[in-house]
Symmetry: C2
Subunit: 333 residues, 2 copies
């Protein structure tokens, strides 16, 4: 059973998850993404994954865990947290721990091994976003969970261990520190100004128009004022909303336009660049929040995190977001 442990000074939680009993030297082998060999996420290999929890597009009458699907969600075979059991909290002197209850799922974005998220057919990307929404809504009913983190690792350098297009979600029994900081920061601003800080950012960005990558009537993609890496992008709904799960199908269609344009522009600037994206949304079962605004953050893997960043939480970025925005806008797609 995995275990959650809290750093007593910073309040940072970590997950101790021993997939297999590793020896120290096992860590030096860089895991490469499976290429050419057997792919457990490809159609026909459905039986090699844990049983699916959700699927789009399988023809009626066909049994679960058979081929013929469009988007498929399965539990992670090597989960960081496990779904069975009661949540148990305990102390050890001044330390705190919790057993590792949670969910860890894989959203398989396409049956086609060669597909890439940026170039998915719009109707398929729409299904992926609807699958995110569906899974978050479903997991919210489990009262052991406080938050669902949806994210994608694309490329080996960004942490992907499988090549087949997929994203992941982790349902957590506690609010992650980063989410708490974001909620707290946004709340302080709201208390001071009586306005959502993200809404104010969008207003200022549209007016300045030096960091807006693309937009439609419902969404905006921008390079944030203080990015951690070159080409970091945020995608936000233009109308205030604190929860991704409140989005309608129509709204998610408009999100697809902006998301795929942004990623294609990124790919046109730096072909094949590895990246992570993370959905930031409100905690599960929360009322709509006036001070918080859901969004995606896309972080390309271009600079390495070294001692300075570890120690300070301070990032050194070699290119201003105004420049990366210009490159992104000029890119031919």
């Amino acid at each position: 059973m995995p275990e959650l442990r809290k750093d007593p000074i910073l309040g940072r939680w970590i997950i101790i998850s021993q997939e297999r009993s590793k020896r120290p030297t096992d860590f030096i082998v860089e895991e490469s993404t499976s290429s050419g060999g057997f792919c457990p996420l490809c159609p026909g290999n459905e039986k090699t994954t844990p049983a699916e929890v959700f699927v789009y597009g399988r023809e009626e009458g066909l049994p679960p865990n058979s081929a013929g699907w469009q988007v498929r969600v399965v539990p992670n075979k090597f989960p960081a947290l496990v779904i069975e059991g009661e949540l148990e909290k305990s102390g050890e002197g001044l330390y705190d721990r919790m057993n590792g209850i949670g969910a860890h799922e894989v959203i398989i974005e396409s049956p086609d091994h060669e597909d890439r998220f940026a170039y998915l057919d719009p109707s398929r990307m729409h299904l992926v976003f609807r699958a995110y929404r569906n899974r978050i809504r479903d997991l919210a009913r489990d009262r052991r969970f406080s938050y669902v983190m949806v994210f994608k690792n694309y490329g080996r350098a960004a942490g992907a261990s499988l090549e087949h297009p997929h994203s992941q979600l982790v349902a957590l029994p506690i609010l992650p520190r980063m989410v708490i900081s974001e909620l707290d920061g946004a709340l302080s601003y709201y208390r001071y100004k009586d306005r959502c800080i993200y809404c104010d950012i969008i207003r200022q960005e549209l007016q300045q128009d030096i960091r807006v990558v693309c937009r439609n009537d419902l969404f905006i993609a921008l390079t944030p004022f203080a990015p951690r890496t070159p080409f970091e992008m945020w995608i936000m709904p233009r109308r205030h909303s604190s929860s991704f799960t409140d989005q309608s199908d129509e709204s998610l269609e408009r999100l697809v336009e902006i998301f795929s344009e942004s990623l294609r522009r990124l790919d046109a600037c730096i072909a094949g660049v590895p990246y992570n994206f993370v959905l930031h949304t409100q905690p599960l079962r929360s009322q709509p929040l006036d001070h918080y605004h859901w969004h995606f953050e896309i972080v390309p893997k271009l600079t390495s995190i070294a001692g300075f960043e570890w120690g300070s939480g301070f990032y050194i970025n070699p290119m201003p977001p105004e420049d990366t925005c210009r490159y992104l806008k000029e890119a031919l797609i």
Copy 2:
């Protein structure tokens, strides 16, 4: 001139530092550590670095920036922050920025290109620690600076761009967020318990004796209860002290024993493993603090930071610190 920018929601500062005008595709080339070629840090090449700010061991009568030194400190040729100028703060709508005033120095740990920090002669490692102490004391007199971050990147995967043994320091005009969180966390505990949390950790660790890697009468090395990565280690003074610069020469001698034993044990477990270490000490010109305790954190580069970690500030660690501690203690050195 580099620029500091603040994320308006999280309060996280980043440095925009354009060393050269890069184009997007310049980022894909992984910089490798210079190997075999010209080394600007080797003796005889002193003129290729900016003029030294501090040196140990050069024979009397020899001019500055000549060979014959033991430990040498020079400004970084490609600094993240620059030393000249007045600190200027400005706003841009709801955003905050500051010009990039600071110091960025390189501590060259040995004239021998092949030396490695873990295997430095004790008298030489002692000089390195004394150089850290000396530089922090000196930079503290510059009232533009609030903090000096001392760190080492060892190995390319940990961010080192030069092979020659060296560490770095950055003097900052603001307190980094991580330092603030650590000070705040330690202060909350102190207010509640009237004791330093680090002193309590040391007491509990000595009593439990399952995470203590090594110790002498003045220092202790342990694998922390909630480590971010396998083989993370903290080195702490056993007697309460909030500032590294208050350490005597004798105390630093005893630090050398524990530091080099810890790193050699790490190297015996995973030969050549890349790592970062960071000195955590109190802000410049602060009075001694009852609630804070200086220490070093050593973080091996073994796991990759992927989307989940970016989004949550939550680390997944595949090996418990009790296991890594056992491996470290059993290692033959």
